[in-house]
Structure formats: C-alpha cells, structure tokens
Amino acid sequence: MNTWRDKAIHVILLGSASTSILIVLLIFVFLGKEALPFAWEPGFGELMRMKWVPVSFKEEVFGIVPLITGSLLVTGVATLIMIPFGVFGAIYIAEIATVRENNWLKPFIEILAGIPSVVIGFFGLVVLSPIVKDIFGLNTGLTGLTGAILLALMAIPTVITVSEDAIQSVPRSYREASLALGANRLQTIFRIIIPAALPGIIAAIMLGVGRVIGETMAVLMVTGNAAKITFNPFDSVRTMTATIAAEMGEVAFGSHHYQALFWVGIFLLIMTFFLNVLAQRVLRRYQMR
C-alpha cells in the first residue's frame, strides 16, 4: 500500500519535473517543422541576405542579418547600461545601506521589476524618446539607444536582486578577516567581497541579458523598427523579437514569410542557448578557482 503510494507520488513528481524537457523538445520539433520547408524553397541562402523586405510588390527579401545586428546592438548597449547600475546598486544595498534605507529601496526595485513591458514601452515613447532626442540633438528619439535604456531599466531589478544574493552569501569571516588586516570598507568591498561574489554577479548579468534579448513589446514601441544594418546606437533598429511580434499576426500560414519568421525564432533560440552555455562555463571556471 505504502510502496504503491510512494510510487504514484514518484511518478507524479517525475512527470512534473520532466514537463519542461518535454515542452522544450516540442518547441524544437514545432519550430523545425514550420521552418524547414524554407531551406529547400527559396533556400537557406535567402536568410543570409542583407535586407529584410517581407512585403513587396517587386521582390520579397528575407535576410535576417539586419534583425540580428539590431538585436545585438540593443542588447549590447543595454548590457553596458545595466552592469554599473545593477552591480553598484546591489553593492550599496548589500553592504552600505542601513536597514531603513533598504526598507525604501527594495520595494521600489520590486515594483520596477513588476511593471508590464507595454507600460514601460509607452513611457519610453512618450517620455524617454523626446529626452534622448533633445540630449543628443537627434532628428528623432526612436533609436536603438532609447530601446536599450528601457531594456536596461527592465533588467536592472533582476541584476540587483541576484547580485545582492551573491554578495550576501560571501562568508562573514572574509569581511572580518579583511577588516582585521587593516583594510578599510571600500577596499574590503572591491578587493575581497566582489571578487568572491563574482560568479554570482556574472550569473546575474547573464540573466539580465537573457531578459533583454527576449524582450519584445518595449523595443517594438521605441526603436523605430527600421530594418537596416547599423552599429550606431543613435540609429533606428529592428530587433528579432519585434519583427516576430509585429509580423506574425499578418502572415498567411505556410507562406515563405511565415517560415522566415520561424527561422528568426530559431536564431533567437540559438542565441539565447549559447548565452546560457556561456554563462554556465563562466560560472564553472570561477567556481573551480
């Protein structure tokens, strides 16, 4: 009786735990099934072209290169903004802030994390983009930079929370030893605690990057969505996610455009996959040391 129940519970738990594996596999199969016909007609080389012109009276072009550069540009700039704010914020909260300050800081960080991305996007369109335009003297505020700032804003709470955990899990004895040896507080923070917490901080940044690269709505609203190859953050860019979101509703099932969008999805998946592998590698290397 008891063993029967144990077994049943075991199966249920195993089933729940395996669901994610099953779902990942199903997603891969589904993406592959929808995208594959494109590889024969019009051919894989079509994806490598330098232009994305999905709706045209003359010739439709499904080159995803501008979309990839768009995503890379926005993600890269967002990461550069996110790292100092996220990491220094975490250091302050974990090491310097008083309890009373934290009672104010932490709830607001949590609120920031909970704001829906459409709302952030709307804020970006109405408030941030004119500011960016005026500060940099641009023709329009709809730029990759505007998108990157918004994305950084959305990722910072993740980076702060995870880095803070990492910093706080540095053993107390490290701090005490450092202070006892005559190091002051700043020296202790930057020479002892941060190096010790580095794997966790890097994991936090990777998580933030993961959030940034997959975010859709906010970038769709503020980056201007011009599909051109550029590495200038003051230019308008079109990201992979925004392309899928904006165009998937329109396409006829089974058309080349439809299949091309699935390829965009596959590339996005591959990018996030390698990002995860990279994060794991970095983490392991630091833990070995």
């Binding site: 729940s16 023709n139 505020g141 201007g224 396409v251 006829a252 099932f253």
Partner: protein, 289 residues
C-alpha cells in the same frame, strides 16, 4: 515556478468553465441563434463594431464578434476558415487568391465605404503641400532631405505603419508606385505612435487615417496633396474623398467566402443600407454613395 504552474492550472480551469457555460447557454436558447465572426483591419474595427452593435439591437438572435489584427490577419483568417467576414483596408492580393483557391475557397469582395489617408508633419514644418510623387519619393528614400521638396535643410524622419497593416500596403501601391519602402523608414506599431512621434519630431512625416488626423487636432499638420505636379493642392476631408478629388483614398472591404448567405448576407445588406452608411459617416469614414 509554483506561481506559474498555479496560474496555468487556473487558466485551464477558467477555460473549462467558459466552455461548459457556453455549452449550456447554447442548449438553453433557441436553435436559430446565429454567430458571425468578423476579423481583420484595425482601421475598420471601430466601424465594424458600430455596425455589429446596431445590427444586434434589431436582431437579438444574432451574435457578432469583431476582432482586429490587421487586414492581412483577417485575410489569413478567411483562408484558414476561422472568420465569416474579413474586414480589409486593402484589396486581396493575387497570391492570396491563389492560396484561397488551393484551399477551395472563393473570396468575395464587397466595397462598404471609403477612407482617406492624411499625410501629416509637425506643425513647425513650413511645408504645406506635396505632390503624390514627392511623397512617394520620400518614402522610397529617393528624397532624404526636406530641401529636396523645397523645405529647409533637415533630414526627413520617415514614419510608416508596420508591414502587417493594410495601410502600409495601400500606401505602397497608391503613393509609392509599388516600390519598396526605404530601409530607413521607421515602422510604427500603431497610428497613435505615429501621431505621437510626428508631434514630437520636428522633421518627421507620417500617414494616418483621416478620422485619426482630425482627432489629433493641432498636434500634427495635415498636408494638402497634389495628385500630379501641376494639379491643385487638395485638403483631405470627407467631401474631397467622396468626390474623388483627394488622391490618397481607398475603399474599405468586406471579404466573404463565396456569396454571403443567411445571417451574413443580412448583415452585409445592413452595412450597405442607408442606416449602415449613416454609421460610416458617424465613425469618421466616407459612405460609398
């Protein structure tokens, strides 16, 4: 994770509840209740909803649901058999007709009303009037500076709707002589985003439906449009769209599969009747007659 699972369970439970309650409702009411689904152009959603509401008031046994998503979405839904009536702000493409015929469907076109597209610029822009050819050259990227069309020496910020929008395709066909959009053209997710950007960016140009630009008031400036270089400049308005002197106007369509029958035919007849055309006028569009 637990939260996600919980919410999933909740969603499934709710879906089940909705299904069950729908089922019981069907049993209870009279058998002659007919359902009509309408899907497609975002431009026409308000209009179609107004028709549906007025129609259902007089026909309590008919349920009509209206959803947007873009003309392409509507046509895709018609081809997939998931909507009875497709509302579209562009005519169906040859390619889509071919797809339909492969599936054994026969799209049937009905002109319900007309809509004018206003070309808008920032109120600070000294340009008052452009020819259709000039506007086309701005959007294809042949002209990139306002001085090319007799304005001050400033780069033009080109704003367009997303490629899933019927307006995008119509504009391409009517104004850009079917050429491709410039790579620098920014694709905005909504009409309000275009109005927002044009009101903020001094050197931007955009196109929006006549009803929207009238609502926007003095946030943006409507250009008068010359059909050819030598013809007179025409202000976009209900009167000029109806008497066909304003060049950038388009019909708004219903598409059904074959000749409409039963409740669908009845609804289409209502939309085209005097009462239906009165609603067209109230919604800010232009009646067919």
């Amino acid at each position: 994770m637990i939260k996600k699972i919980l919410s999933l369970v909740l969603i499934v439970a709710m879906a089940g509840f909705v299904l069950v309650s729908c089922g019981s409702k069907e049993d209870a009411s009279k058998p002659e209740v007919s359902y009509i689904t309408i899907k497609g152009s975002d431009t026409m959603v308000h209009l179609a909803s107004a028709w549906a509401e007025a129609y259902m008031k007089n026909h309590p046994n008919t349920d009509i649901s209206v959803t947007g998503g873009g003309s392409g979405t509507g046509i895709a839904a018609l081809l997939n058999g998931t909507t009875d009536i497709c509302i579209a702000s562009r005519s169906i493409k040859q390619k889509e007709i071919k797809l339909a015929e492969e599936k054994g469907l026969h799209p049937n076109e009905i002109v319900t009303s007309r809509d004018g597209l206003a070309v808008v610029v920032n109120p600070g822009n000294p340009i008052e009037s452009l020819s259709i050819e000039q506007i086309g050259k701005i959007y294809t990227g042949a002209y990139t500076n306002w001085k090319d069309v007799g304005g001050p020496d400033h780069e033009i910020v080109v704003l367009s709707r997303e490629s899933s929008s019927g307006t995008y395709v119509f504009f391409q066909e009517r104004v850009m002589s079917k050429k491709d959009y410039s790579q620098d053209a920014m694709l905005m997710p909504s009409t309000s985003a275009i109005i927002q950007s044009v009101s903020q960016d001094a050197w931007a140009i955009g196109y929006v439906g006549l009803g929207y630009s009238a609502q926007a008031g003095d946030k943006v400036k409507m250009l008068t449009v010359k059909n050819t270089e030598d013809s007179p400049a025409v202000t976009p308005s209900v009167a000029t769209v109806q008497n066909a002197t304003y060049g950038i106007a388009r019909p708004l369509f219903f598409y059904t599969n074959g000749e409409p029958k039963g409740a669908i035919r009845d609804f289409v007849a209502f939309a085209l009747s005097d009462a239906g055309q009165e609603i067209v006028l109230e919604a800010g569009y232009v009646p067919v007659n």
